[in-house]
Symmetry: C2
Subunit: 318 residues, 2 copies
């Protein structure tokens, strides 16, 4: 297999999180040519052996196409990752993210670009943080004002204004769902997880969150409705998992509304690759919002845009 | 060991929940003479062998004192327990609980009294339920109007009015704390659980819940502050567990306030035996409430009061 040291214009974009590693081989036109995803999230990498793991995953592409630049974002740039890249503060432009990028050279000669995460210092009680989602938001587009939700273990709501990521807020919705569905009283009563969502149960849960009067609005009470609904013969074992998913995502929308992120009648961008977009889209509809799905190419588009800004800047290779 | 069939006036009170069995040998004057507690909660009893388990625990007292009446409450009367005793509806008086009691005869000749749980059909989206806490509320006293909280895996807030348990509401605070502290991102960063509470961290967490402005009040966001507080070097590993306990209990108080259970300046009764009373008492103080601890004898006092009403009624042994 011939190795070339000439740049082919292709790049590799890596979205490396806590639980998974996703890599895309991308054409000069920004099209994903090949894609791999595996479970080698940073929490599973022993002795900080990040480079061997990366080369195992993208090595075949480097062998075929030469020393392609590798652009990485996500928890790989955190304290527990490869290199801790300092957060950029909101409001942030693409050029700010480019300037905060850290460069390394891989053993094969490829340049590695570690994109920075973002912090919103206006949040209480402590500054909020994201790593990876800022790249997806850039990929969704900073040209027009927008409210964006990025569903996940720790969902993010963000505002795009004047070509910047203006501010954002985290909701740990996915984490609570995982805990409740795997380890709680709900796990004991729920039926087997199904490949297809039980949409009526999900939407019923969203509506519980949406329609609660203030006097009954307690989140900690609504979670108990998975049990009381069974006792009242209103919910069956086959409903519980999606019903509680709906209650949780509905509460995220309700809280986001209370915190000023949305109002009924507004558009909302849904950006993500965690298989949650349809749930968020349906919840958005029930909250009278107009959802636009950002697709799963936002990471690639965002990484390329930051990389492009970086190449236009005067920053030298370290 | 002489067995007598004459009533000695003593009784056995059993508080039998999902995870533990507590039994008290009680004098005619209502004083606990002996007490045992073990981990034989109903979820651990195979093949519905409730009677053998009960006799293993209280058998020595029956041998010594004869066929004492056994008065039991808690999840032992649920669908997964010994006998499913129908719920009594709120508002409920002591006599209503007495009338809903189910009697059985144990193999040694003792009478077993299974006290009913309570349902509040006014709750949304489904009627709320309790089993065991109603007995503790009766023990705390129905003579004077009161707001009572019973801390636990599934905390209950209840109103006593005109000699009745008027209404109540469940908050799954303890369940969420257990999940977060055992299985979540918090479990990974928290230090070892300590025998003594870290009260400054706990009270800081309660205050996060209390002092949030509406624009930052999202519960699903506050939970993330365990991570952002670490990143901001505001919290250490030794703080996380009690900080998040404070955030959760603080949110329970905040939600209870929103739902109309309390207002600043009011008295509140704290009744329970789950080792949480000091936490709830401190949280109550931070929310400007005046807590009164109900002590751990409420189950015994309540069971005796319902039993006494039952003996005065005309209900015959089944």
């Amino acid at each position: 297999m011939a190795q070339t040291s000439e740049p082919s214009g292709k790049v590799i974009v890596v979205d490396w999180g806590t639980t998974s590693l996703r890599a895309a081989l991308v054409s000069p036109a920004g099209k994903t040519i090949e894609f791999v995803e595996n479970g080698c999230g940073i929490q599973f990498i022993a002795d900080r052996k990040f480079e061997p793991e990366l080369l195992k995953t993208v090595g075949p592409w480097l062998k075929t196409h030469g020393k392609l630049p590798v652009i990485a974002s996500g928890m790989i740039t955190s304290r527990n990752g490869w290199v801790e890249v300092p957060y950029i503060s909101c409001p942030a432009r693409v050029v700010d993210l480019a300037e905060g990028t850290v460069r390394r050279r891989l053993s094969n000669g490829s340049e590695l670009f570690l994109l920075p995460g973002l912090t919103d210092r206006s949040r209480r009680p402590f500054p909020d943080v994201m790593r990876g989602e800022e790249t997806q938001i850039v990929g969704f587009g900073l040209q027009r004002p927008a409210t964006i939700v990025l569903p996940g273990t720790h969902s993010k709501w963000a505002k795009v204004e004047t070509g910047q990521i203006a501010k954002f807020q985290t909701f740990v919705t996915g984490e609570i769902f995982a805990l409740l569905s795997q380890h709680s009283f709900i796990a004991k009563t729920a039926g087997e997880a199904s490949a297809t969502a039980n949409w009526p149960a999900f939407e019923r849960g969203v509506n519980v969150a949406k329609n609660m009067l203030d006097a009954d609005a307690a989140f900690l009470t609504q979670l108990f409705s998975a049990r009381t609904g069974m006792l009242a013969n209103e919910l069956g074992p086959e409903d519980i998992r999606d019903f509680i998913s709906g209650v949780l995502i509905g509460n995220e929308f309700r809280e986001a509304q209370c915190c000023g992120w949305t109002e009924a009648g507004q558009k909302i961008g849904i950006v993500g690759n965690d298989g949650l977009n349809e749930r968020y889209s349906r919840a958005a509809n029930l909250f009278e919002l107009f959802p636009t799905e950002g697709g799963d190419q936002a990471v690639v588009a965002g990484a390329l845009e930051i990389y492009s800004a970086l190449r236009q800047s005067a920053v030298e290779v370290a």
